[in-house]
Amino acid sequence: MLRFIVQRVIFSIISLFIIVSATFFLMKAVPGNPISNENDDIPQEILEAMLDHYGLNDPLHIQYVNYLKSVVTWDLGPSYTYKGTTVNEIINSGFPVSFILGMTALVIGVSGGLILGIVSALNHNRMPDYMAMIVAVIGISVPNFILAALLQYVFAIKLGWLPVAKWGSPNQIILPSLALAALPLAFVARLTRSSMLEVLSENYIKTAKSKGIKQSVITVKHALRNAILPVITYIGPLAVSILTGTFVIEKIFGIPGLGSHFVMSIMNRDYTVIMGTAVFYSVLLLGVILLVDLSYGIIDPRIKFSNKKER
């Protein structure tokens, strides 16, 4: 177990190192430099002074080492576009917003998906099953930004029930989090359905039934507890999909979260913000995936950690 944890942690650190390095060299591969790209008519002396100030005149390997140091100490440098603002400040202001939005979507997606999956497994090959699976396949097929636009059009513009955009009051969370939750909901529903179907045909379910236990107790206590494992495995990819979803959803709804800051920094070619946000996202995602991996053993004691991967 300990060996497994150490191995997984090392693996995550290697992945992170690769992302940080790749981001750095990718951004350096862009022609020109952040300062002259922004202002064409800047005098040569001032340009040189600014490049010196930001350390952009140093040789590449020095810049690289400095960047690695700044990532380790979590001091991601200044924004080139918004003068006087640091990347840390942008992350600190944007992330809490995105976190609330993302967690709401995650809760809606997982709980909605579980309910849909259970209902359709209990009514296998009957009407509720078909309905639920049609909902699921539509959830997978309709891109989240289109769903967002649709929700906005119907519930905000046409019906006027909910605010069109912006952030602050609780009812402004509803539409964006629904748009974000659709894809996870659909995936969780399909996963839950297939693993519930598998579990429901096990002998211990028959035993429980023959003992006269109520269907609701069997479903929750016997079946769901075993069927939920694949869903937990899926939390990692789920987090990835919600996170990348925030790029477009926050743009559509004008939410001042990290996703829209990231998109803005791309539009402005604000390289330190792009790099810093990308590194932050990677730390977050690799952390989530690592936690999920490590939690298997606690949730399902049948899983033995070993070095050989079965596939």
Binding site: M27, Y153, T244
Partner: protein, 308 residues
């Protein structure tokens, strides 16, 4: 009773006739693919997806030529018109015909989706095939490489690559395939690992077949089912990624239209001219739906473990 013996009765029977006699009542035997096709045909949803895809491909080829407008032809007098007899899907804010642009966008979106999926397929099959076939250290090394790429958040990598590579159809395809092939490689490797233990592979090897022959004649064709399913499910993902990038303003550049850029344009005037969003959005959704149900249907039809 005395029977008349003739010389004819002692002639050897034709080979084909003999076999025909034996199984006269049986159905003609089906190959694996015929069997799968037969099962796929029973799945109405998957077949609807299949025909929808065929129709979309045909329309993406002929659609832009059906009426007299071109996709970049502007007519500022006729801007933001609703659907009418002249402009079947209406016009956009530059007075461009939306019908022509929708099918022109289909061409771009489908081209990007299918090309990216095919490149993933080629790299994935070669990489996964070699890793699975040789096993051991080679496999360990190749798959560790895959694991690391697989651990990177896909959309984030694609977005970063697009920032560096710049906008354009081919840069999108490059950005998507740099890490996109890993999924296919993992599937192919799993299949090859399973298949290489089969007796027919041993027979082929002991008859002196070269590695490339064993790989491409025996292993890959037998792994074709899961490969095909993965391919079908990769295409909608690639179409979605392209639309996502174009929506963020990182995709194809004007005047070229894709469904993603059209959705982005449409969103800005959603309140007043909803059809600008409606048509591209509907067709992206239909396309992704069609590929998804076809992929699901193919998986059911090709996977003998799911047979009832």
């Amino acid at each position: 009773m005395k029977q008349q013996l003739s010389e004819e009765m002692f002639r050897p029977v034709d080979k084909d006739v003999a076999r025909h006699d034996e199984v006269a009542d049986a159905e003609p035997s089906l190959s694996f693919w015929q069997d799968a096709w037969r099962r796929l045909k029973q799945n109405k949803l998957a077949m609807a997806g299949f025909w929808a895809i065929i129709l979309l491909i045909i329309m993406s080829i002929v659609g832009p030529w059906i009426n007299e407008f071109t996709y970049e032809q502007q007519n500022l007098v006729m801007k933001n018109m609703g659907p009418s007899a002249e402009h079947w899907f209406g016009t956009d804010s530059f007075g461009r015909d939306l019908f022509t642009r929708t099918w022109y966008g289909a061409r771009i979106s489908l081209f990007i989706g299918i090309t990216a999926a095919l490149i993933d397929l080629i790299i994935g099959v070669i990489w996964g095939g070699i890793a699975g076939y040789y096993g051991g250290k080679v496999d360990e090394f190749m798959m560790r490489f895959c694991d690391i790429l697989y651990g990177l958040p896909y959309m984030l990598v694609v977005v970063l690559l697009m920032v560096v590579l710049g906008q354009g159809i081919f840069t999108i395809i490059i950005a998507m395939t740099i890490t996109g092939w890993v999924g296919m490689a993992r599937i192919v490797r799993g299949e090859v690992l399973r298949l290489k233990e089969q007796e027919y592979v041993l027979a082929s090897q002991s008859l002196g077949a070269k590695t490339s022959r064993v790989l491409f004649k025996h292993l890959i064709p037998n792994a074709l089912g899961p490969i095909l399913v993965t391919l079908t499910l990769t295409i909608p993902n690639a179409i979605f990624t392209e639309a996502f990038l174009s929506f963020l303003g990182l995709g194809v550049q004007a005047p070229i239209a894709s469904w993603g850029t059209m959705t982005n344009d449409g969103l800005e005037s959603l309140r007043y001219y909803p059809w600008l969003l409606f048509f591209p959005a509907t067709f992206i959704s239909i396309t992704m739906l069609a590929f998804n149900v076809l992929g699901d249907g193919l998986r059911d039809a090709l996977d003998p473990r799911l047979r009832k």
